[in-house]
Amino acid sequence: MIIPLDDICNLVRLQLGIRQVNGADHMLENLGADSVDVVNIIATAEEKYQIEIDEAELTRLQTVSDLHQLIQQRITAANR
């Protein structure tokens, strides 16, 4: 399953209450998310895509595109 970047942008939009979100947006710096928001975004993604993401990996996440790649990796790994 391939997840479009738009779907992840949308997930972030809803979670943070922001109308415009792009892949290049930096979650903490541009979008004003805090670390708990990131945890909640991950929890929503885990539920939506039936995947598991290790908390340790969250520190690597900076942009929405990073998040998209991480989710895509987990989905691919889960389906292998």
Binding site: R13, L16, D37, A43, E55
Partner: protein, 542 residues
């Protein structure tokens, strides 16, 4: 005022039947009932119960709606020496039988107009359990005389089951003394006189509708016009106020909001006779007071009140004809406690035995000392022990604070508090914010702990307007849903400085309420965690 030797409700009603009053006891819809008629019917029902060998202190369950039957049975039981257990008449037979078991009753009273087939089915179930099922009409063949026991002030008059969000309801035991004390407290605190005219559609089988809206009028012999509890025909409420130039009505906040939504032309009604429109039994919104008074051209008539079954009912009410006090967070003050009631605020995380009240303006658990406090719950010593703090003061389970002038503000329920990052967040405050978002009709906030380091997180359920399931094949308005969620998150963040973990848009009537309109946070949380909202297709969007 009745003479001072009136020590029980039975004394009161006997006195009212003997000394002619200017008003009937009450009117239900178009039909009024005099004190003499009511007293005769009470005695007849009591004689009927004696023929069933009713014992002193025996509980009798009554599932009776607003109407004449209720008063016959409620006071007939007490006249015969029993304890009335009024319950919601809309309960299923299974639920009624569960209440019978809980109250250890043997006799169940159903409405006279129960359809025969339904009655027969219920009777079969009751017979199997050795219960006696009766209707008020069954008493008709009995004479109204009899040798009835002398009722004492400390006898329990009735048991008020609190609806409880989960688990077993608790039965608050209310004595005759409690009732008369609280009636007097309310008369003084609410400045009620013989000249007042009451209108009420509140359930007579529940404390506010029963004690404030019928016992207070009986005590003072003021006029009271009772209506069915159904709000389908909400005009009837306003019409009745207008026709009888009523001065006093009461309802929870939702009912006033319903009026504002349903009545398209408020100028068609003249409610100028109202002295008090009490808003109580659920969180009071400043916006409701403002909108209602503006719509009907009233000023300082809608007042916030507070009470609970464990203190009989009334604890405090804002002073009528005085502009309301609303704090910075939007809480409307419920005024100062009534006479012979004192309120103490304890830390809400306090250990049993700790007795240091919090300071002025600090939020904590509301503890009430009152002469009208109940002696505790029926057959539930553990809950009774938890109820009492010390010297007969009761822990309300409600959170609030007192300001520098001694005015009380209600903030929420203790058990529903959400602890987010070490700070207390009150569902009621969240709901006030979310309910203000366009297209949200109702909302609930609960705390969910997923076991991670982030601790308890706020999850919001919002019922949205105008999305009743349609038979058409129109695709769901996803963009609208997205915008609602974004609006909710923004409004929340603007108010609390952090974001909710998740917002679920749900179908109307998903959020569970008690039959008297209180939001059941714990039940909603359980339904959500058990996946029942998902399974039942209640979630529209998340």
């Amino acid at each position: 005022m009745p003479p001072p030797d009136i020590k029980t409700l039975i004394d009161l009603l006997a006195y009212r039947a003997e000394v002619p009053a200017v008003t009937p006891a009450y009117a239900y819809l178009q039909e009024s009932c005099t004190y003499q008629e009511m007293w005769q019917r009470i005695n007849r029902f009591a004689a009927f119960l004696q023929s069933l060998d009713i014992q002193r202190g025996e509980r009798v369950v009554m599932a009776l709606p607003n109407g004449h039957d209720f008063f016959d049975a409620f006071y007939g039981v007490q006249r015969a020496g029993g304890i009335a257990v009024p319950i919601y008449p809309g309960f299923s037979p299974a639920r009624i039988l569960a209440m019978v078991q809980l109250s250890e009753a043997r006799i169940v009273v159903l409405p006279s107009d129960t359809p025969p087939a339904q009655l027969a089915g219920f009777k079969a179930q009751a017979d199997q359990r050795g219960l006696t099922l009766i209707t008020v009409a069954n008493a008709e063949s009995f004479a109204s005389g009899g040798d009835f026991p002398q009722i004492q002030p400390d006898d329990v008059a009735f048991i008020q089951y609190t609806s409880g969000s989960t688990g077993n309801p608790k039965g608050v035991q209310i004595s005759h003394r409690n009732l008369l004390d609280n009636v007097r407290q309310m008369i003084v605190g609410m400045e009620i006189t013989e000249a007042d005219i009451f209108v009420s559609w509140l359930p007579v089988y529940h404390d506010m509708g029963l004690i404030l809206k019928t016992m207070v009028p009986f005590y003072l012999a003021t006029a009271v016009y009772l209506l069915p509890t159904s709000l389908r025909d909400i005009d009837l409420w306003l019409d009745t106020i207008q026709t009888h130039r009523a001065t006093f009505t009461a309802a929870p906040d939702f009912a006033y909001r319903l009026v504002l939504r349903r009545i398209t032309d408020p100028t068609a009604y003249d409610l100028s006779s109202l002295r008090v429109a009490l808003n109580a039994a659920e969180p009071v919104r400043a916006s409701t007071i403002q909108a209602f008074e503006a719509a009907f051209n009233l000023q300082n008539v809608m007042v916030a009140g507070y009470g609970l079954a464990e203190a009989t009912v009334g604890v405090s009410m804002w002073k009528p004809s005085t502009p309301p006090k609303v704090d910075a967070r939007g809480h409307v003050s419920v005024g100062r406690p009534f006479p012979h009631i004192s309120v103490t605020i304890l830390p809400d995380d306090q250990l049993v035995g700790d007795d240091q009240p919090v300071g002025v303006g600090e939020i904590g658990e509301i503890v009430i000392q009152s002469i009208a406090n109940s002696r505790g719950y029926f057959n539930n010593p553990a809950a009774t022990e938890r109820l009492f703090w010390r010297d007969g003061a009761i822990r309300s389970g409600d959170l609030g604070y007192l300001d520098e002038d001694g005015y009380l503000y209600i903030v929420g329920r203790k058990k529903n508090i959400i602890i987010h990052a070490g700070h207390n967040v009150y569902p009621q405050e969240i709901e006030e914010v979310v309910n203000g978002v366009e297209n949200v009709r109702y909302s609930a906030a609960v705390g969910i702990d997923r076991g991670g380091v982030e601790g308890e997180q706020v999850v919001i359920f919002a019922e949205v307007r105008g999305n009743e399931p349609t038979s058409g094949d129109s695709s769901p308005p996803t963009t609208d849903f997205e915008n609602i969620v974004i609006d909710i998150v923004q409004a929340f963040n603007g108010r609390f400085g952090f974001r909710p973990a998740r917002v679920y848009l749900v179908k109307p009537k998903t959020i569970p309420l008690t039959y008297n309109g209180k939001l059941q946070h714990q039940r909603l949380k359980a339904q959500f965690l058990e996946g029942r909202l998902d399974d039942n297709g209640r979630i529209l969007f998340s």
